[in-house]
Symmetry: C2
Subunit: 227 residues, 2 copies
Amino acid sequence: MGSPGDLPDVSLLTISILGGTGPQGRGLGRRLAIAGNRVVLGSRSAERAGKAAAKLGAAGWAVTGADNATAAAAGDIVIVAVPWDGHGELLTGLRAELAGKIVVDCVNPLGFDRGGAFVLPVPEGSAAQQAAALLPESTVVAAFHHVSAVLLEDETVNEIDTDVLVLGDDRQATDTVTALAGRIAGIRGIYAGKLRNAASVEGLTANLISVNRRYKSHAGLRVTDVQ
Amino acid sequence: MGSPGDLPDVSLLTISILGGTGPQGRGLGRRLAIAGNRVVLGSRSAERAGKAAAKLGAAGWAVTGADNATAAAAGDIVIVAVPWDGHGELLTGLRAELAGKIVVDCVNPLGFDRGGAFVLPVPEGSAAQQAAALLPESTVVAAFHHVSAVLLEDETVNEIDTDVLVLGDDRQATDTVTALAGRIAGIRGIYAGKLRNAASVEGLTANLISVNRRYKSHAGLRVTDVQ
């Protein structure tokens, strides 16, 4: 139980990324494409998505672009990497396309002021729980919150030095996303609880932003004592 | 800025621990005493504190025991390691003793049910913010949330493999506690934001409990890309 050998093979899955033209979505798409997965970058603008995909596809990776609804329908797994502002509206409109799929929410509900980042209140408890409430026919998993977009997109960085905390209520789904995280070089997926505990993981991004400011870093996290 | 060399020398400070006879308090006291600090274990019962201190003091370390009020008055830095239930009441009663001091809150407001641990709502936002509200003449810092009590007390463990996230609004106080954390072998203190961002760090303990359950570990955290 919990050993990497037990995790499913996800190499043949198509990964769609809503908000795939933003830094986080683009960076995750790039790394998953390098790992060998087919990737569909979704965006409000199919044209913009196509351009971003063409840029990555030029390197020989299997990346295409589409509007968010087409991308949602095309993916075996769909990663939600949109800004918090607009998160609920986007998912509400894609309920049919996302039905029956694993939806991976990596959105951090944060505000920013002169003091830095802070956690915004979410009526459902967290962005991931909001997604679960809006997508009753999907299986929502929370993951990829702390992966630096800067490092994901940096062509000189071969390995990302971080663990990805994976949360969800369905064991098969969290195992699948744990395996997916592990396909990115350097990253290890670690199961870190049920969806009701997603708020702390999302909110921790504000703490890592404080770390980055103080230490001039692109901080990630490693969980110790897990083999 | 942020380099260990900038941190103050805290080797001569007396560290008092409220709730010093619980596993976390006892374990922190043990490690800080090994590091060379004078430690006062506080407890509701002076007798119980005295016994716990005698057990540690027998190893040659400078540990004494006292009731919580006496311990609070004796410490240069006072660590609060009591259960969440009773946190507010204890601090309310020690306002005078804690005035003018750095108070380090490591309390995690968690509930437990069949599904594991979950975060309890705190009107002030977090245990640390509650402490700050109740102790207006003290400087509250949040730290030591994720350090495994089991490892702290394990005599066969020489180094604790974790970073301690340190939060607070006063730079001198967070530097002091960052330095204090670094005195425990293996541990590194990392500044991780203002007190308003303490809830995510406290709540993350529920995630680490999920990790421990799944992977049979005593998980800690390392922040990557910080030298």
